[in-house]
Chain length 258, copies 2
């Protein structure tokens, strides 16, 4: 059966897209069948996989119940990895969805047929840097939440905000089944005290929730999107690629032994 995992954090630039793309690729390289949904109007996950956003090509119309998600699924240059791309107009969807009935469950409803299809092992969703309607819909549709967390002070400050919101949606009945699957530390530079302090702080406050794999700061990771490739294909033996492959292994292992 298919698990829906969302990559969310309202803090900007913490590595949501980079983790969504490279975790999706890492899982696909291990022969899991993966669908990545780009829910960010910036469409970075889309261009990061070498796909050009097209008007009407995103999940926008499906969120309004006018089209099916299945029609938007495209193959990518990565075997076993499929994509529902984003488009700029998706930003306009926030206002339209807010006015629709059942506005928090539009995504959950749109993805239901994809879950039932049984074609994918993992359905990952990349979220925009806000806690607006699109991210709320992702939280309402998710089985699990993975929070990419940059090893920085401002990023640490925002962690409690999204966790509190997840709890509210869980206990409030919007999504009783959602669980925090884990926190993955990104752009870790072991030479700085700040990075080590942030990791220690998160380990202390969220024991058992932080992945062992720390994603290092690595310029090859930030170069890969301009080639439309995950770093695991752009430079397979670079520290960044090795880290994301290790993360994919750890992600699967923890999934099997929670």
């Amino acid at each position: 059966s298919c698990t829906v995992t969302i990559l969310a954090n309202q803090k900007g630039g913490v590595g949501k897209t980079t983790t969504a793309v490279n975790l999706a690729a890492g899982l696909a390289h291990r022969k899991r069948r993966v669908l990545l949904v780009d829910l960010d109007p910036q469409a970075n996950a889309t261009s990061g996989l070498g796909v050009s956003p097209t008007e009407g090509g995103s999940i926008y119309r499906a969120l309004l119940g006018e089209e099916k998600v299945i029609e938007k699924i495209q193959a990518t240059t990565v075997d076993n990895l499929y994509l529902v791309p984003s488009e700029l107009d998706l930003a306009g969807a926030e206002v339209e969805i807010a006015r629709a009935d059942n506005y928090l469950h539009r995504l959950r409803e749109a993805l239901q047929p994809v879950r039932e299809l049984g074609r994918y092992d993992d359905l990952l969703i990349d979220c925009p840097p806000s806690l607006g309607i699109l991210t709320m819909n992702a939280l309402a549709a998710a089985d699990t939440l993975v929070i990419p967390l940059q090893c920085e002070y401002y990023a640490l400050e925002g962690l409690s905000v999204i966790l509190r919101l997840m709890e509210q949606l869980k206990t409030g009945g919007v999504n009783p089944g959602i669980e925090l699957e884990g926190i993955v530390m990104t752009m870790f530079d072991g030479r700085t005290n700040l990075a080590r302090q942030v990791v220690e702080e998160v380990r202390a406050h969220f024991p058992g929730k932080i992945y062992e794999t720390l994603i290092p700061r690595s310029v090859r990771i930030s170069e890969a999107p301009s080639h439309g490739l995950p770093v695991t294909l752009y430079d397979p033996h670079s520290p960044g690629a090795l880290a994301y492959k290790a993360f994919a292994r750890e992600f699967i292992k923890r999934r099997l032994n929670p």
Copy 2:
């Protein structure tokens, strides 16, 4: 008279807050009277200046016309620098403002009395990482726009989006007076090809609009917020502090000779 300058870029984590706080401090150190408005519900500029967000302490009620901005202004530990702090509830304001009359000009109207007060030379506004109602209000209220741009591929992709929106608001009559004051490159690491390529690309596409000062990646910059200080006070002779002081000088110089 007072100039309203906004720091905006929908791409997350590009240095909007860091630039807002350190430019504000740099201008204040040069004896300009500066008011910084934190328009991001994350309240990073607020905590970056050592101020704790308080319920009702932000511009939220003033955007709905229920209270005055002047009542929210606080002094900071930096001479000549004053702050209108943010609060978490500001996120809820987006929905409420969207339903209000004249919803794009709520901020402009709220700031009008502050402009007329004549107490500040510069009014800076830190924006959230989105092009939602709060950032739209900032674009409608601004005299000038400064875009912090991280030297990364994804950041470069998003540049045309905010510029197009600014043009639409300008020609569409929402804010005929807004001008792009400049683009400041942040987290520049001269050792990487990517950073140099991004700078060259921006220089080629936006001649005359990119500040000469390149803000280097510097861990002291990212440590400063945890001490509630701008880097210009936290470590005044560090490369990051020197760069932001140089940026403040260049900002003033270009303002005088556009």
